[in-house]
Symmetry: C2
Subunit: 86 residues, 2 copies
């Protein structure tokens, strides 16, 4: 998988999921730092119809396995850190 | 929703999703900083069967709306920051 190719593909994700993978709207999840395998599994589930979402079903429909792997590798490459509330 | 009650409930999530909401296994997503509404939507989808996952279907089955709101509020209260690769 090629994270750099994935970064380019992710241009179409940024309106909802954010340029850095931190979502811009509450109904969309953050993708920053999610594992490649998790994102792949979800995109393939949207593509096959196993997981349903009005927007994501359309987005995933035309992605190849390679594109899915690349975009998933891109989001995995973003480092996230979590800070618990005091 | 009560994030402190949610923090206690989240004890059952930590094996896979991490004490701080950063997943411990690749097939599980990070939950740290996800919006309350996103997590609520997913837990309710698992509970109703709309979204399927061997483990999560079982976990969500017995949660009340209040418990779902609380645990979702807990994860929302964790602050995440993302760092793009150089």
């Amino acid at each position: 998988a090629d994270p750099e190719a994935g970064r380019k593909l992710a241009a179409q994700c940024k309106t909802c999921h954010g340029l850095d993978g931190i979502a811009t709207i509450p109904i969309a999840p953050n993708l920053a730092g999610e594992s490649q395998i998790y994102i792949q599994n979800q995109l393939k589930a949207f593509r096959s119809g196993k997981r349903e979402h009005e927007m994501m079903t359309v987005v995933a429909r035309d992605l190849t396995d390679q594109q899915i792997a690349d975009v998933a590798a891109w989001y995995e490459s973003i480092e996230v850190t979590a800070k618990l509330p005091e």
